[in-house]
Every structure is written in structure tokens, then in C-alpha cells.
Symmetry: C2
DNA sequence: GCTGAAATTTTTGTATACAATCTGAATACA
DNA sequence: TGTATTCAGATTGTATACAAAAATTTCAGC
């Protein structure tokens, strides 16, 4: 966090937004651990901005549920329990099931090509057992599929939950490589999308997401998150 | 809006929070219509506060999705399309189905009594065809049931969607009274809760929520919202 | 009267100043 | 020693001042 410098003057948008994203990233990646108190003057100095835009960024984080506000004590980074993680996946997975019809309806052949390209990258990462890269491609793959849907509000909910999921990816990363069955399922998904097989993809996606939820929960439980 | 006065000094919490709630209420009830531009100096003056807390309130509304921010142009109250309304109900209804098991698990006999009390009020309102009151009790009834669940994050999603639903209640209020079948269903719901009949309430709730969604969509479509 | 550039006004973006409140340590007292 | 109490420092809450950008108006030139 303290080493993360950014030059607000280079960006053509409010400092509060860059501050918001910087803080959000730092919280999600755990650079600012849960329970930390965010003292305004301290962070404003570190980010080389005044308290005003920082405070506006904090208000946004507050509504995101990433930090908690206490009267006259400022904001504190919120902690996650196993129940939280369970609910986050439950919400994400249910929302995903809701948009599958619109995805099948809107997917084009170009989209299939793009997905196959991502799959190729994933193949390499899987063979190399490069968990870090695989996690990135995994998000890219699922993100691409999700955003084939035109359900803006549902996507908004999915995206907001996925922000949290990224928080645990550091813990689950190792498990992902081991679960090579998941990798196989990604290939099957693209095949089902290509055939516009709604029932098939419903069944596979449900299973795939349930497994990823269990994998994460097990990993978090094991490591004592 | 302009007549809504509040004395910040009487409250023991930040002005920004009262401002946030005042604005939120005004937007939800349509006092500030969709498309309106919220000019900071104007609203700050009307609320008798400075721009600083007002801006923090706007950042919260931004994350709520109630207003939209445009670079150097400030915030504009967002409009709702039929697709938006469809998605809002879809999300709410799906989340509701997810928490039914925990509701059945946690409901006590005292809760049943409380729900029956609300039902009695609803009976009166229904007979008097008092749509306004019925809408209030309806929210109270469903709100009580929902919050029997201990799934905090899912409830958070439900609550956020229901804030939007209130926006359309002015349009749908008339239809509610007419749909006296819904009133009957509320009574059945309490009976099923009393018997801890999960499958029964799943089926009824699904039907009930689907109907209310269709009722709202039809009303909004008819009136050209 | 129309066009377009410059000036003015409006409005947002950010920084700073000051007030209110809380925290914690030092001190007084039982 | 233990417990209030008070006071200083730290931190948040709000207001104001100023900078930057956009919108609007004015007015010269045609």
C-alpha cells in the first residue's frame, strides 16, 4: 500500500475514483488486512491527496460493504466469516443461473472463437501448473461468458460478489490447479455454448460453480482464513 | 423536497447520512424525477448544509445505483426501463427462494403470532380497500418473513432491490387491492410457516412473487412509467 | 440576422481551516 | 493500589476558499 504510487494528474477523472479503486484493490488483495482502521490523514498523505476526495472514496467503499463506519471513529476494513463466503458464492451462482438463457440467446461465433483463445492460454497455464496465471485466465473466461448476457443489473450483482471472491483467490489458487476436472469442464462449456445447448450448460454450470464454491470453502477452512 | 426540513443538530450522527437518506427517499418516491440533475450548491442550500457532506451522500447514492455521475457535470437521477424492473424483481425473487430453508429453520411460534397480527391489520385494509395502507403492511409482512433468515448478505441484496420496488409501488398500489388472491396467499403462507412446510412454502412463495412481478410490470406498462 | 470566438458565469474538483468529539495518559484523591 | 477526573493530542465532521472545467452569454465581424 505505502509503495503503491499513482499520479492523479495523469488521469482525466476525479482523484476520488482512483483513490477508491486503489483502496478497493488493496483491501481485496489483503494488503490492508481485515480489522485495519483507515485513518484519513494517514492515507491521504500516502496517496498524496487531501482528505476530501479520500473521504468520498471511503463513502463508496462503505456502500460496497468493504469497510464499516463507526461514529467519530472512521472506517474499519470488514472481516469475512465462512458464512459470508458461503453466501457470496450462493448469490453469485444463483445469479449466474438466471442469465444463462440470455447468454445462449446472444452468443455469436466470434464469441466462441474468443473463448477458445482464452482456453488455449489456460491449457498452457494448466500444463505449467502456473496457478497465478490460471486464476487470471479463469476470471477472464467466466467474465467473458457472463458479460454475453444483457442483464445489466444482474451482472452488477454478479460483479460485486466476484470482487469479494477475488479476495479468497490467494487462498484457493493452489486448489485450482489440482482440480483439473474444472479445466476439462471449461472446454465442455464452450462446446455447449457453440451448440446453444441451454439445458446442457445449465447442468454443467450448476455443477461447476457448486464445485468451485466447495473448493474455496474447503481451502479457506483448511488455512484458517 | 424543498419543504422537507430537518435539523441536523438534533441528530447524533453525520449530516451526510441524514442528507443521504433524505435524498434517497426523495428519489425513490419520485419527488426528484428521473433525469433530474442534482446541482450541489442548490441542494446544499435547500438542506442547509455545506457541499462537503452533500457530496459524500451523493457518492453513496452513486454506489447504490440511484444516481449516475458524469465527469464535470455532477450527478443525474437514473431512469428505469421495463427491463430494469424485470431484473429487479428477478433478483429479489431468486434471493428470496434461497433463504426459505433458513427461514423455516428459524421461525418461532412468537414469529407466527407477530405475522398473524400483521395479517389482521391487512384484513382491515383489504376490506376497506385502502391501497396505501395495504402497501405498507405488505412490505411489513414480507420484510418480517425475510428477516427471519440469518443470511445477512443475501438479505442485503434483497433489501437493496426492494428499495427500487418501492419506487413503483405508487403505480402498482391500485392493482394490489384488486388482486385479493394475493391476500389469501398471505394467510396460506403463515399456515405453511407454522407447519414448517418447506416444500409447500417454496411452491407458494415462487407463485406469489412471480404474480407480484407480473402485476407490477403490467401496471407500469399500462401507465407508461 | 447569423457565425464563431472571447469573456463571463456556473458548477464541479480539491485543498485547507476550524469545530466537535473521542481516546488515552497523567494526575488527584480515596 | 485502585479509581475518577481532567486535559492534551489525535481524529473525524463540516464549512469555506480557491482552482479547473464546462456551459452560457456577449459581441465583433460578416
Amino acid at each position: 500500500m505505502s509503495q503503491t504510487f499513482f499520479d492523479p494528474s495523469l488521469e482525466n477523472r476525479p482523484i476520488r475514483d482512483t483513490a477508491y479503486e486503489t483502496l478497493k484493490h488493496a483491501i481485496i488483495t489483503g494488503q490492508i488486512p481485515a480489522g485495519s482502521r483507515i485513518v484519513e490523514t494517514l492515507y491521504a498523505e500516502q496517496l498524496h491527496i487531501s482528505r476530501t476526495p479520500l473521504r468520498e472514496a471511503l463513502r463508496k467503499l462503505e456502500r460496497d460493504g468493504l469497510v464499516e463506519y463507526v461514529l467519530h471513529r472512521g472506517v474499519v476494513v470488514r472481516a469475512f466469516t465462512l458464512e459470508d463466503i458461503d453466501e457470496i458464492f450462493t448469490i453469485r451462482n444463483a445469479m449466474m443461473m438466471l442469465i444463462l438463457p440470455s447468454i445462449i440467446e446472444r452468443v455469436t461465433d466470434e464469441d466462441i472463437d474468443k473463448l477458445n483463445a482464452i482456453l488455449k492460454d489456460m491449457d498452457v497455464a494448466q500444463d505449467a501448473e502456473d496457478a497465478e496465471k490460471l486464476a487470471v485466465y479463469n476470471r477472464q473466461f467466466h467474465g467473458y461468458i457472463e458479460h454475453l448476457s444483457d442483464k445489466r443489473r444482474i451482472l452488477r450483482v454478479i460483479d460485486s460478489q466476484e470482487e469479494y471472491i477475488i479476495r479468497f483467490s490467494a487462498v484457493t489458487i493452489a486448489s485450482i490447479v489440482r482440480r483439473s476436472k474444472a479445466h476439462q469442464e471449461h472446454h465442455e462449456m464452450v462446446e455447449l455454448l457453440k451448440n446453444r445447448d441451454l439445458e446442457g450448460i445449465k447442468k454443467l454450470m450448476q455443477h461447476h460453480l457448486d464445485e468451485s464454491k466447495e473448493t474455496c470453502l474447503a481451502a479457506v477452512k483448511g488455512r484458517g482464513f
